[in-house]
Symmetry: C2
Subunit: 330 residues, 2 copies
């Protein structure tokens, strides 16, 4: 393998000069720089990434900590982070922390030990108050961690309001909301948007916990429809939760959307594959991941950020699980 010493010999300069050229640090004469670059090319020299890491305390890696990559919201997010990272020459270390504080801390320690340049964290925990405490640049994705940590979320509250409005405009008179986990900001915000609209319009409503979970949503919907057979609209806090609701309703002989209209939240590809296809409040998942990666790389490169809080708009996607008042309504 070619070393810095081989390059120095070939270029007729010192190893320290080669190092200065490689790391773009310190003074090097124009001629020496050219000689080094020519030698690098002729010898097909690739500076050892690990040695550079030790020297620069930068590994050109970023850590991505998600609760669970098998939750269908996260693959697209991870893909976006990796795509942007790749463009800037970074690789991505994937960590599944299951929303477990101890696991998150262990991952952060392990990642710092490997000199990752930064971390993107999707967490429900409020264990980090600012960047200083973490000791490495960090961006929060889909969750708010602290005011000094740049955050990318979607407009969950407005999305929850839009879901309720859509059901009411479509004629629903008794709404159920399958809410996400208690204490989770995204779930609370969706609920809050929903609640404001139903209270304003005065339609009957009932709220139950379903944890974004398919089986749980199926179970709570079955009970709900048994107790309240006149429920005619369900807003589920995730697309997977909506699928559970539809499954339960269909099993009880209810027709979607004729007897019961259902709207989800997320906009994952799977919603389109359902029959009938799922009306949903779509988050710009790929954009959120890409923006988090870009913000993190700015932080790493000590570039100024315009803001620390980015809320991207959600969008109502009308498909087949809600009615259309007029065919040319869309």
């Amino acid at each position: 393998m070619t070393t810095i010493r081989d390059v120095a010999k070939h270029a007729n300069v010192s190893a320290a000069t080669v190092s200065r050229v490689l790391n773009k640090k310190g003074y090097v004469s124009k001629e020496a720089e050219e000689a080094v670059l020519t030698a690098i090319k002729e010898l097909n020299f690739r500076p050892n990434a690990v040695a550079r890491t030790l020297y620069n305390k930068s590994s050109r890696m970023i850590g991505l900590i998600v609760p669970d990559i098998t939750n269908p919201f996260f693959p697209e997010l991870a893909r976006a982070v990796e795509d942007v990272a790749l463009t800037y020459g970074y690789t991505v270390v994937l960590c599944n922390a299951d929303g477990n504080v101890e696991k998150e801390h262990n991952y952060i320690e392990a990642l710092k030990q490997k000199y990752v340049d930064g971390i993107i964290l999707t967490t429900n925990q409020l264990s980090f108050s600012d960047e200083e405490e973490v000791g490495v640049p960090m961006v929060a994705l889909d969750r708010i961690i602290g005011s000094k940590i740049p955050t990318v979320v979607s407009s969950n509250e407005e999305g929850g309001a839009a879901a309720a409005r859509h059901l009411i405009e479509n004629g629903c008179r008794f709404l159920a909301h399958l809410r996400g986990p208690k204490g989770l900001a995204t779930a609370e915000d969706r609920l809050s948007g929903f609640r404001k609209v139903v209270e304003q319009s005065g339609v009957a409503n009932v709220i139950v916990e379903a944890d974004f979970h398919f089986e749980k949503s199926e179970q709570v919907t079955a009970k709900l429809l048994e107790h309240h057979p006149t429920i005619d609209g369900i807003f589920a806090s995730s697309d997977v939760s909506a699928a559970g609701a539809i499954k339960a309703a269909t099993a009880m002989g209810k027709k979607v959307p004729d007897d019961l209209q259902v709207i989800g939240f997320d906009g994952i590809p799977f919603g389109e594959m359902l029959v009938p296809s799922l009306t949903t409040i779509a988050q710009p998942i790929y954009k959120m991941g890409a923006m988090a990666a870009r913000l993190l790389i700015k932080l790493i490169e000590n570039k100024p950020l315009e803001r620390f809080y980015y809320e991207l708009p959600t969008e109502l996607i009308k498909r087949q699980t809600t009615r259309r008042k007029e065919e040319n309504n869309e």
Copy 2:
């Protein structure tokens, strides 16, 4: 930050001795070792992972190259790899290569530069003939790369045969197979299993390409059912492809499973969320990922492998898109 020198001073030994203890290499007296371990504990010293990487040429990282993490087959695989890696103290670098040979090579080079200890590769390409050529321990997952590279796949051919048998036993008389990409071993094997059974039983059949792709499967199924309205059974080469077929059939007024029975392949969670829920040939996805990770770590640690080829059994999961001959049939 505590350094090796601080530990050496505290333990009253040389830095070289501390290094030998940390790396478990070379002779160290019992007393010196104990003094070093005590000093490490008292000073709360954490050996720098990057410096160790440079010394040992091991980063305790493994690279996982997949075509695209947003393809719903791969998140569970990635999760399994990461779970096993974590148990053995390794972290996982995630790479999306889109089945592009150049991207794969670039990733492999970048990963080697970072001294990853090994790579798990899911690829359609036959560009690596053995481990020597890659220069780093490698395991092939879901695809066969070369005879000297340990490989984990599921029994695709037997799975294809089981799908065809199930449809025929359920009374189908005209089968269609939505095959996966040409040249992809997994897709070819599923086709081959299907073909053997239909030829033996003499039922009519037609084979079309659908690339595991939702929209493409929807389109080809619509055409297929238009030309051949008597098709009464479809074997789709992936669950996503099956969802496309069901969507097209439903749009044409066909009832699944009464008019048309459909069986998929993969066993991803999403199949269960469909209404009706999807009958499928399930691969043991998590097991495949976990086994690949365990094999790779054995390779890394120079432990002997029993075999180089592991084919895990697939399983017919009967749900609602195929008929049940008798209710107690399952």
